[in-house]
Symmetry: C2
Subunit: 548 residues, 2 copies
């Protein structure tokens, strides 16, 4: 018959041991190490909340200060590897195995540690995939999370950066796990309940507010005319052409330029209300002019963005907010929205190969792709139509019964032919493949596979891969917009001209766009200060973006 | 600059109007119509919680009793169309437009009403897709939900059938919507908080407990030897062959037979611990013997199942449960788990065409497919490997660079060549296409498209579609397991034998299975009573399944 309450009893014992260091559920910051050593067991699966933005940094420091004699061989299962402490624990032996999604700053160190055998890598997931595994085979034994405030019963207010927290807590608390929340302050009553107290076992009053990174702020002052040209082509040749209303933008300068062109170039084209009305997007500061000009109907957010809190509070018709007035973000639902409810994902990449496979991985970094693999994939389970989706589906259907025709998500790569330091974006072979070979990864770190990409936009034009009839046409369509890179110079000129004649490739002039019109004067805001002005002073940019 | 608080102010006004019929948040059942007429506005998007199982039936009756002069042209956005009242509102004009996912009993009536123009159909979604749209373009203005109990602050206990509720409430409450919960009783303190009270505006004490349907109970007494043979082939030829540990089963008798064969046939094959350990599945009673025999490590559930509550409470190491002891289900997360964290989806269908497209739609019913399109699709965003997934990927990769190889989800159709009343399962053309033409649907109601299906299992054998090199091979592989149906008789015998020689088709004897061994004696439980016995008396089947 077996033993059916072993996990449950072990959880109760962990909590009882932790209570020795707590006053009810409340634990002082000084007792974090004691608490963690009391509730953790060697080999545990642990989610140390490292989100895309918000970091449970007080708990991260505590974990890294634990005694490796007592706590070792942990299996870390968390979205973000962001803080140095997230990797320190692998050096001391506290942690051993890693399953994650995204690492901005720590990508190079992860690659070195993988190569040196200090980390046993599970996989580099897309966010929603990692969340899915929390409920199946990567359920955490202990979750270490972060919020703004909690009451003494553990009712938690996450503030605008709700992000991954509800998902992590649900998987842990309902499967015999222990949940520890660090908060900036203990209060009598939380402004709203993001997580009910009966799912939170311990509350640590942190020594300082949790760390959060402004990852989605793009300074308009840094936008180039090439980016503006590409943005104009995307608006006229894709947004308008397909009538894209529901979408997700990447985090690069190209899509930020599009946001800033909507109230100017988009307005001139008469597109207001016709495109870009419903968004799955973080609260990008560069979206403020479009919001203020009445382009945007609503935005659901993965997380928040530093400095946007007051603006969001004053725009409750646009954003998802609580009765307390602040943003309620939710990465799991926003990723689901990006997958199934958006007609287009448009973003940038570092490398694209001859078939259209793309990756942001270079030979020395294992950074992960966050949400891109999920949102940049065509969901075969989708069963609702839209104008944009059906048009793409018709373009993409080469063979088969038209009665069985289904639509396609638009997955658009927006790149300059040469990236930073004049490194070519178009390559014969992705660096990711070499990295996979060197480190011995089971699966090459491809961000978006070729079969999901529908369009590539560069300063040379738009390649519509849906219209390509075979692999050779596809290769020539990609070469045909690859500019003066080796890949671009390797084009078959006759074939490229034939593709252009069919509209598979479209140059700026084919779209009625004069490259000389791509001027910074078109940007609705030319600086961070302009964004503050557009917001009526509600947007409060972090110090590093202020130069006035 | 626009008006940024219109929605928020409208919400506040609705709540104020509703308060006239409430004592605090509490509304007597007799005042439901008054409440709904106070908070609803013509044209509203409304989610009337009709889940796959749990029904907000008191609120459904209330809505259908509203005055169509006051409340009309509603846009209903809900998972399930299950109760007669869900369609009555379209006859009276209270509702006009419909977006939904699943309709068991009402499929025929929906088809008639669509044909008669009484319903303006948006789309028939897969669950997760509809949830995604709640956050983008189908955000409800009003949500009418159901729970077991609530306190006077609105803190809600859903009981084991949490299902869609957290998702519906999150989309509504944080986007200026009004949330009304019907509960079986008002209590001083809820057993656990499934939804915090600050997201619930009104609590209606219903006149009787909410309706819930035992949709996932299959009586072992009704299982046939053909189903047992098919189940044996699936276990030996697919589960064992690929080493499937993480999976979702459909709700038919075929997969229920597999559940009952694990502790007998599976045990004999030495597969315990090697297959079927981690599940995204409702608490199927037929899984009890496998759980009791130690096959199952954990199960995450979409919803619950009538009669399974006590059993689940006593098996906290297997199921996700709250501190109160009862199941915490969650359809959104379990669908996400089925999409991204399972290596296999295996289920049944009514029709399969020559390419492998399938549908459960007949000419007179628009039932919807619930979760099948989502879980029965290959998620292109997946980036973690597993043995099963990589093996399927290798089999399916015909061309391309092996360094770019990725895995494949196994999507298996488990069918008898002839279904109920000897109607052939294999057809030249799906009835769904004719229905789509007749009703004028934009998209044919295909359950799973051919490109996602990897295997078809019938009593004649297994067709592995991954190994087919072209459309002709695929057609012959399907014909080759289609038995004496017209499609089966239309096979090219030489081609089918060639496919068999290559292992694309495998007969029972190719798998070392003797059809005469497919005996009911192999079932771990032969009746509902046996299941009760296996559960130690904890499973309490509904009356209709009791015949002792």
């Amino acid at each position: 018959m077996g033993e059916w309450r072993g996990e449950r009893q072990a959880r109760d014992a962990r909590i009882a041991a932790g209570r020795a260091h707590a006053d009810g559920k409340i634990v002082p910051a000084a007792a974090v190490v004691d608490l963690l050593e009391a509730i953790l067991r060697p080999g545990d699966r642990v989610c140390l909340e490292g989100d895309n933005q918000k970091q449970a940094d007080c708990l991260a420091r505590g974990l890294s200060a634990c005694d490796p004699e007592k706590i070792h061989d942990l299996h870390m299962v968390q979205s973000g590897i962001v803080l140095p402490e997230h990797l320190d624990v692998f050096e001391t032996g506290i942690a051993k195995r890693l399953d994650y999604s995204y690492s901005g700053p720590q990508g190079a160190r992860i690659a070195k540690m993988l190569y040196g055998g200090q980390i046993e890598l599970g996989a580099v997931h897309t966010y929603l995939e990692l969340f899915a595994r929390y409920f199946v085979d990567l359920t955490p034994n202990v979750a270490l999370i972060a919020g703004v405030s909690a009451d003494r019963d553990g009712n938690l207010y996450t503030g605008p950066n709700t992000e991954d927290t509800p998902t992590v807590v649900e998987a842990t608390a309902f499967k015999n796990g222990v949940v520890v929340a660090q908060v900036n302050e203990i209060v009598d009553t939380v402004p709203r309940v993001d997580i009910p107290g009966d799912r939170i076992d311990f509350v640590v009053e942190a020594d300082k507010p949790f760390y959060v990174e402004p990852l989605f702020t793009r300074d308009p002052a840094a936008m180039t005319e090439t980016q503006i040209l590409i943005a104009m082509m995307a608006i006229k040749g894709i947004y308008a052409e397909y009538g894209i209303k529901r979408l997700n933008h990447g985090i690069g300068f190209g899509t930020a330029a599009i946001e800033l062109l909507l109230p100017t170039y988009g307005e001139k084209l008469g597109l207001k209300g016709q495109i870009a009305t419903h968004w799955a997007l973080n609260p990008h500061p560069t979206l403020i002019p479009a919001i203020e000009s009445g382009w945007v109907k609503q935005v659901h957010c993965f997380g928040s963005e530093v400095g946007m809190d007051r603006y969001i509070r004053e725009r409750p018709d646009i954003f998802f907010t609580g009765a307390d007035g602040s943003l309620r973000s939710n990465r799991a639902f926003c990723q689901t929205a990006g997958l199934y409810a958006c007609d287009m994902f448009i973003g940038a990449t570092l490398q694209i190969d001859l078939m259209g496979h793309s990756s942001t991985i270079t030979q020395s970094r294992v950074a992960g792709f966050g949400g891109a693999p999920n949102m940049g994939s065509d969901p075969h389970g989708r069963r609702h139509h839209s104008h944009a989706w059906m048009k793409a589906g018709r373009e993409g259907q080469i063979v088969g019964d038209p009665a069985l025709m289904r639509g396609r998500k638009l997955v658009v790569q927006l790149v300059e032919t040469f990236g930073d330091k004049l490194v070519p974006t178009f390559v014969e072979k992705l660096d990711a493949l070499e990295l996979a070979r060197k480190i011995g990864l089971e699966l090459a770190p491809v961000m978006i596979y070729a079969d999901d990409v529908t369009h590539i936009v560069t300063e040379e034009g738009i390649a519509n891969l849906l219209l390509c009839r075979d692999a050779d046409e596809r290769e020539q369509a990609i070469r045909g917009v690859a500019g003066y890179t080796a890949v671009g110079r390797g084009r078959d000129r006759a074939k490229v001209e034939a593709l252009r004649a069919r509209g598979v490739i479209r140059r700026p002039e084919d779209l009625g766009i004069e490259p000389l019109d791509a001027d910074r004067a078109l940007l609705a805001a030319k600086s961070i200060k302009d964004l503050v002005h557009w917001s009526g002073g509600l947007y409060e940019p972090p110090a590093r973006f202020r130069n006035w």
